[in-house]
Subunit: 520 residues, 2 copies
């Protein structure tokens, strides 16, 4: 590797780990992602730090847990006090470019308070979540000026004031007329746009064009797809690629609805759970969801072919992951958020082309990774310093290099359901609708504010059907999990105004500062 | 009360609760503070949120715990992201003036990052910790331009490049020659400055002059004395006002040094503990410390007389407290920081002149108060809104008004000893030298990162001689305390970019935003 190093950080939205062939799905075809896994290391136990887009992504972009970065739900802006991957790169003279989704909510109040609204260079960077935008496109609403996609659609014949609503998430119904993708019953029909004009294809083109433009110049790109996230509308032929017999059967039973945890019972009263509880809904959505995944894989194939042919594969760190999974009706839930493997476990493939990583190439890594690890991994690979007083994740590269290293034996995740109907159903305030979870090899434990605990024995009950949160025989396990959570809370990094080096240098140094207390 | 309301928030530095007559000291004379207590309510159980100046003060100034505001020790700047009392007042068109000490460390890196260094109005406010300075004077080093005290001293005949070192903290030794107050052996000698030119008198004059200048105009003042904090040098006649027989006997025994907690053992190896462990040191320092307290009381008498005569007593909320206590050799420690009553318990007197508070006037409040309560109390008294998404303390006024209210049954405090020699002695990093403590009616519990717990039964062992942290009979108590701490951690307020009202309004409102997920 003589050329400068590039980083390609690919994120899929709402992609369950178990919905890739290389993660064991018996029917989905994902040959290009599978090939990527063979080029690098597939983390078999990678988990998000929140099962919600916004907080999960902010953990990827800051290297910090939601309790620390504070953007605990989709509508909570990331404080201007937080430093993102883009700012770390900028401080080292590099740029983080973006093609796709970030879900960054701008902290307008913070920018206004600090009189940073648009004026300074940092103000602009903060307004864009630390990114330099190739094309910012968050999906699930008509994009504005930040994306070229609407104009692109119009140029290709999808003429409308709102081509996203009228074509992209609209499906061609049985009589040929458009029906809305906002209704999951329509997931069986193809999108009104051709595949080559779909969101996934468009954003892949943006990335390809960027790579071509850059030529030999180094780059760091976040390529962030909005799929297979809802609206679940796939273009032909992907909409009909899979039959329901090729889908995983729903993981749910009647018993789990009885005497359920109050917050879970409340989530089951939300519309998405009610919808997905019907057999028809999950039978309709799952094939389309799988089609969207294979479509994503095909587009990644185009990208990886270009990288192979242009030599970029030889000097680019590639990370492929997702921001969380999708219940798809499992456990009688729709969507995400809660502490089940379907939501919390995501794919994570890391390809490091350097010879140091040859020893593990094509292997499966059983040690646990978390979203907060990605930022320190990227900075480490670029040889950039790590802000150890801020970063709560760990560099994954030693695992790729086969280096012996003490590693974590559990992961953490969080939920703030203040904005959800479920909060109102259980009668919580906007300050105590929170939960924190720890997952070890064997146990999934959840601490809910002012609600009962949850506990699942993943060894005897891998599907999480039996909540041992109130089991008298498991108090010792719960105590051990609480103790891990307590330890985690104490290690959150809020002392951000001094670096660890500054503290080390200042230790016991008061006499140097002319202060001589305590002398007799 | 027809005139606008004023607030006088008085802080003493390093003043133990048990060193005031109204708090039961058998010998110290503090008639003016005692009279203040009779005018209002004396909180018998008021505790700081950290036993160190900086973090404790930042909890007073932000209404947030050190784990949240992040300024966990004296040398850790307060992040520009934190909102202080001065900024809350400014947002309501008022000003917080300062006479004396704040220990605010400016977040230069944060200001520089945000390009706020001095330019904007907020930049200036943040640079001054949110205060408009009458006279900023942090003590224990020669003040700079921020204080008029050096020039004042020179005008009054104390001519030197460094009149603080050469006169204020210098004492007149037995042969008439100056000796340094940095050596505690000299605490028996009088300061080289006359009482009327001392730090305490000077700052009292600043406050008096300010009140005179303001006339009928409303104000909020933080009058923050640097005494009785070291250097322990009192001006005549206070230096010799008390004999050792009028001091509390040291609270310590040989047994507590055996098999001591590792961090406590390390603190006992620091110079201030070694010094104070000698009988001679504490016999020398305690009388001077008491003299400094009576001197403070006499000066407060001058201030209160003026307020009485000018009618200010009728429309001023007065709060008198301290940032932490002082070991003075108790438990073989000098200084502060650790989780003993001598350090953590402070005086707190709140005088509300309004008729609503008549019912409790002159009373003693047994319910627990914390430093974080002061800011919401001040804002509430001024009728200003409370930022409930940031504030972790509670308004104390309902207690003064005899209103029935659910109240806390424990308080919390923290320590970051990363900067101390003790950290190096126990072999900790700059990231795991931390402790959190909970104090209930009966128990004082301390959770140390990667070190044993501490537990004291204040009922059977009020002097905290017997550490039950490893007692097998007390695991249930410790578990209960850990559970309280865990609950506290979950309630820290880091979601600062949205108000509670914004969350309430945004709850279950996605369809209003044009997003229709989960519909069948």
């Amino acid at each position: 590797m003589n050329r400068p190093r590039n980083v390609l950080f690919i994120m899929a939205d709402q992609l369950r780990a178990d919905h890739l062939a290389c993660y064991g799905h018996p029917h989905i075809r994902t040959p290009n992602i599978d090939a990527l896994a063979r080029r690098g290391v597939r983390f078999d136990r990678a988990f998000v730090n929140s099962g919600v887009c916004g907080p999960s992504r902010m953990s990827y972009y800051t290297g910090r847990y939601p309790s620390t970065h504070g953007a605990t739900w989709n509508r909570v802006p990331l404080s201007v006090d937080e430093v993102t991957l883009g700012e770390y790169l900028r401080n080292s003279g590099r740029t983080l470019v973006l093609a796709g989704k970030t879900h960054v909510m701008v902290d307008h109040a913070g920018l206004e308070r600090l009189a940073l609204d648009g004026g300074s260079e940092l103000g602009q960077l903060l307004s864009a979540g630390g990114f330099e935008e190739i094309d910012r496109y968050d999906g699930h609403h008509e994009p504005g000026q930040e994306s070229g996609y609407p104009a692109y659609l119009r140029r290709h014949g999808y003429v409308s004031d709102d081509p996203w609503t009228d074509f992209v998430i609209a499906a061609r119904g049985p009589d040929g007329k458009p029906v809305s993708g906002w209704h999951m019953r329509n997931a069986r029909y193809p999108s009104m746009v051709e595949e080559r004009h779909s969101e996934t294809a468009y954003m892949t083109d943006q990335a390809l064009n960027f790579m071509e433009r850059m030529g030999e110049a180094p780059w760091v790109m976040h390529l962030s797809y909005v799929k297979p996230h809802w609206p679940y509308i796939a273009p032909a032929p992907y909409h009909a690629m899979y039959g329901y017999e090729e889908c995983l059967p729903p993981v749910r039973n009647e018993a789990e609805k009885h005497d359920a945890h109050p917050v879970l019972a409340a989530y089951r009263q939300q519309e998405e759970s009610i919808s997905f509880s019907s057999d028809e809904c999950q039978r309709t959505v799952r094939p389309a969801y799988q089609g969207l995944i294979t479509q994503l894989d095909d587009n990644l194939g185009r990208l990886f072919d270009y990288m192979e042919n242009s030599g970029l594969m030889d000097d680019t760190l590639i990370i492929f992951t997702a921001d969380h999974g999708d219940f798809l009706g499992d456990h009688w839930f729709g969507e995400k958020e809660l502490f089940y493997e379907q939501v919390q476990r995501v794919p994570l493939i890391v390809v490091d082309p350097s010879p140091a990583a040859d020893a593990t190439r094509g292997g499966v890594e059983p040690r646990m990774a978390e979203s907060v690890d990605i930022l320190p991994t990227i900075l480490s690979w670029l040889g950039l310093p790590l802000a150890t007083h801020r970063l709560e994740g760990r560099n994954l590269l030693p695992l790729l290099y086969g280096q012996h290293t003490d590693w974590r034996d559990c992961v953490f995740s969080e939920l703030d359901y203040s904005y959800r109907l479920a909060r109102q159903i259980v009668g919580k305030t906007t300050q105590n609708a929170r939960a924190w979870s720890v997952r070890t090899d064997r146990w999934r434990y959840v601490y809910w504010m002012d609600e009962p605990e949850q506990l699942y024995d993943l060894e005897s009950d891998p599907d999480q059907f039996i909540d041992l949160g109130r089991s008298p025989n498991h108090e010792a396990v719960r105590a051990e999990c609480r103790s891990r959570l307590m330890d985690w809370f104490t290690r959150l990094k809020r002392r951000t105004t001094v670096t660890d080096e500054m503290v080390e240098k200042g230790t016991n140094a008061y006499k140097k500062a002319g202060v001589f207390f305590g002398q007799w």
